[in-house]
Symmetry: C2
Subunit: 158 residues, 2 copies
């Protein structure tokens, strides 16, 4: 399909900018769709990841799953706790850790959320073939690896 000049060559680093933009737009789309539930981007994202992990995971594990740093998560967790969607319980073994659980109410909200998201997801992925999506997913993983190496290189770490 590339007998012509490869499309990405015209983009300089714009591939990267493109990802940021698409990311924002996808999250905006979902956030709009779930607006009636009173959830922001970071809040529904945390809920989905907590669903995919086991309930009872630590904040550390959740932050890792999300690919964000702890302080970013702390803020969102606090909001979800205030909305009584999740609860934090200190781990008996290791008193530093806190384990996260959905409340009854939170589980109900989660169900609704998942239904809506499944729908939005179909729209977002429309006209993209399975192979295309697969290539993108793999490419992103590779780029993530590259970027981390790059960062290590430039920050002069061991």
């Amino acid at each position: 399909m590339s007998s012509t000049i490869p499309f990405h060559e015209t983009l300089d680093l714009t591939l990267c900018g493109s990802m940021g933009r698409v990311h924002r737009l996808c999250r905006d789309a979902v956030t709009l769709a779930v607006e009636p539930l009173g959830l922001t981007q970071s809040r529904w994202t945390v809920m989905i990841h907590l669903f995919h992990l086991n309930q009872g995971c630590t904040q550390q594990e959740l932050a890792h799953s999300l690919g964000i740093e702890m302080p970013s998560l702390t803020r969102t967790i606090k909001q979800l706790e205030q909305q009584q969607i999740i609860v934090r319980e200190a781990d008996a073994e290791d008193k530093r850790s806190k384990r996260l659980y959905f409340t009854e109410q939170g589980l109900n909200l989660l169900e609704t959320l998942r239904v809506i998201i499944a729908d939005v997801k179909q729209n977002l992925y429309a006209d993209l073939t399975t192979n295309q999506l697969d290539t993108m997913a793999h490419g992103l993983v590779q780029m993530e690896k590259n970027a981390r190496q790059c960062i290590n290189h430039y920050s002069g770490d061991k």
Copy 2:
């Protein structure tokens, strides 16, 4: 290549999260590499886009090229102006518009910036084939289109 379960299926909406993460990491990598130049992510990004457009473009045009909103750009422009990297000149025809130009100093900085970025880019795209990058670029464009439609749909516009 997908006789097994397609990789992206395991990701739920994580493809979207992945993009956000890779976007942040790529920008971090470049920002680290250009650290000696005293530029933040938003500032070097604006410089690169201004380079690709014609100098003398309006803020409107630049914001569109960047895919960000005007207020986000205004802040960055102001910083670049304070660093004497670019200047804003009121358009003679339409006094509402301001046209953007690199200063002498800004042009020199731009050259250095471009050299460094070309290098980082190579590292970021390492081990990705041209076809892969192409597929990703096209996929992103399609997803951006989908997301915008989605947003229009859910915001109940005309």
